[in-house]
């Protein structure tokens, strides 16, 4: 089974974000980056499916040159090769534009299964996978917690709201967006890290792929820190005093203890 896993590099989760002076995006320069968490689970699912059914895992990533680090880490975990569509900007604000890049990067690949995380931790549109499926005319399912390959089809467990699930079957090729927690993530081994250095990374540009310079369908006008809707009484400084003050307030002001 040929499995493509689309991954994205995003600012690390515990990053202190600062708005850039123009108010159009955040300051990216001083941030560390990592793989988008749901994409890490998609990668792990791809690797496990390959271990069970054979085939190869190809990592697909649209992002700036710096995303090469995240791609290397995916190869170190066991992906066989990678396609890096190198973009000038760190952030593409339009999930359709990103999906078009990914679709163009897959033109010569014909995978049986495409996996990606259900949403990105930065933009959080939660759309790229579904859009990619539509562009490639593939059936899809989202928020997947289990993948089972059967004869010529896959059976998946979709997460619904309030603790409900549903099984869905579909023919291959297909696209799935993977939910965090579907599996246990592996660490790269020393051997894996060593091997990754010799694995193929095909670098392509939007110009080469003929998908450069489209106009965005949605315009990001301004980014800003959210306004507080509630006035929070904050206790800072010495943990012992802060703790005592908080318990006092909960007891005598809020009267919840």
């Amino acid at each position: 089974m040929k499995i493509v896993v689309a991954i994205k590099q995003v600012p690390a989760r515990d990053s202190q974000l600062r708005i850039a002076p123009a108010g159009k995006w955040i300051e990216e320069a001083d941030l560390t980056h990592e793989i988008n968490e749901p994409d890490a689970y998609a990668l792990e699912e791809g690797l496990q499916l390959k271990e069970k059914h054979g085939g190869e895992v190809v990592v697909l990533c649209a992002g700036p040159a710096a995303a090469a680090q995240t791609i290397r880490e995916a190869l170190a975990k066991g992906a066989d090769r990678a396609i890096h569509i190198e973009t000038a900007e760190a952030a593409d604000f339009d999930p359709l534009a990103t999906a078009r890049l990914l679709a163009a990067g897959l033109k010569t690949e014909a995978p049986d299964l495409i996996l990606t995380g259900l949403q990105s931790d930065d933009l959080g549109y939660g759309q790229t996978g579904v859009i990619l499926a539509e562009l490639l005319a593939l059936p899809h399912a989202t928020i997947i917690m289990q993948v089972e390959k059967q004869d010529g089809l896959i059976r998946v467990k979709r997460e619904l709201e309030d603790g409900w699930f549903q099984h869905v079957e579909m023919p291959l090729p297909a696209l799935l967006t993977i939910q965090s927690g579907i599996n246990k993530l592996r660490y790269a081994t020393l051997m894996g890290i060593k091997k990754a250095k010799t694995k193929e990374v095909k670098r392509l540009t939007p110009v080469e792929l003929g998908v450069a310079g489209g106009t965005a369908a949605v315009v990001l006008q301004r980014v800003y820190a959210p306004e507080r809707t509630k006035r929070t009484q904050l206790f800072e400084g010495n943990p012992k005093e802060a703790a005592a003050q908080l318990i006092e307030k909960l007891k005598f002001e809020a009267r919840v203890l």
Binding site: Q16, I26, D94, V130, T142, G163, E169, A216, F235, I247
Partner: protein, 324 residues
């Protein structure tokens, strides 16, 4: 130019977010000096459409076809494309449910559009609609607008609009029968199920102490457990803790877990991504313990301690014991 709200109904009940979306559609239509209509996809769902017919709308559409009995992204996309071609709305609004997340990007792409998903607010500036959505798990807000012609698409976050603001009135109810052939539906939806019975009913708890990613290791969970015990509170967790298997899934609070509304909800090491907030923001008093003063959890917190939970929690346990 008009607004169309596409609402969700499982054949038995409305999705609770449907009324929030309907209220938003009425409000946005008023501000844009246009009319709102609503649609529901539900095989044989005349009674539900009639219910929409008692709201202040121009029209209520019942999208009805045997192939739509069970939800599929192919079926819903085919049906709604045809409805949109007939109704010609300028803006189509959806509740940001799991089902909408599954088909809306496909529908928008099929029409060459990008849906603005998970919207928390809007405003109209010089006749132009500006939508507000969150980036970076709620740490940053963004104003976005459509650069494309009608129809445009947006989905609305749970709780962003108030269901009790829906205006009653009357609307003509119209059945819409799309053309769908069975071969166009590629996925086969099977059984709906819940995992093992929930042993823990967090929704009945008066006090909840909930632990998140900030706890770092499974070995540290007992620290928060001890705090919960001291307070006489139920222990809960955010999704990553349950994903990692550090606490059972039945203790998860959030959109995929339980929705709770205790007297007090104490979030320890939880940053407050929206998927978590929707599960607990009905709590009477919210307390946040977090080392990041910009964590979104503080936006909904009544009381907070900015600090290292490994220092703060033992002091809280001591303070509770002392106050007994």
């Amino acid at each position: 130019m008009s607004v169309l709200a596409v609402l969700e109904n499982n054949g038995q009940v409305w999705h609770r977010m449907s009324w929030e979306t309907l209220a938003a559609a009425q409000q946005i239509a008023r501000e844009l000096n246009t009319t709102a209509s609503a649609a529901v996809v539900r095989t044989g769902g005349r009674a539900f459409a009639d219910e929409l017919g008692r709201k202040q709308l121009e029209k209520a559409y019942l999208v009805d076809h045997a192939a739509l009995e069970n939800y599929t992204p192919d079926g819903y996309t085919l049906a709604l494309r045809q409805l949109i071609a007939q109704v010609k709305p300028s803006l189509v609004l959806f509740p940001h449910t799991y089902q909408v997340r599954d088909f809306l990007p496909k529908l928008a792409t099929a029409l060459g559009r990008v849906a603005v998903t998970d919207v928390i607010a809007h405003r109209v500036e010089n006749g132009q609609l500006i939508l507000v959505r969150q980036l970076f798990q709620g740490k940053v807000n963004a104003d976005v607008r459509f650069a494309t012609d009608a129809p445009n698409f947006a989905s609305l976050q749970a709780g962003a609009y108030r269901a009790d603001q829906v205006a009653d009135g009357s609307a003509s109810v119209e059945a819409f029968a799309p053309t769908i052939s069975a071969s166009e539906i590629r996925t086969r939806p099977l059984d709906l199920f819940r995992e093992a019975q929930r042993a823990v009913d967090l929704s009945a708890a008066e006090l909840i102490v909930s632990v998140g990613r900030g706890i770092k290791e499974a070995d540290q969970i007992p620290l928060v457990q001890k705090l919960a015990a001291a307070l006489g509170a139920e222990l809960a967790a955010s999704r990553p803790i349950c994903d990692a298997g550090w606490l059972p899934m039945e203790r998860q609070v959030g959109s995929s877990g339980q929705t709770v509304a205790p007297k007090m909800y104490m979030a320890v090491g939880i940053s407050g991504a929206i998927q978590h907030l929707v599960g607990m923001k009905g709590s009477r008093i919210v307390v946040a313990i977090n080392k990041d003063p910009n964590a979104p959890i503080f936006e909904v917190a009544d009381y907070g301690i900015v600090g290292d939970l490994f220092q703060v929690v033992p002091e809280l346990i001591a303070a509770v014991e002392k106050s007994k």
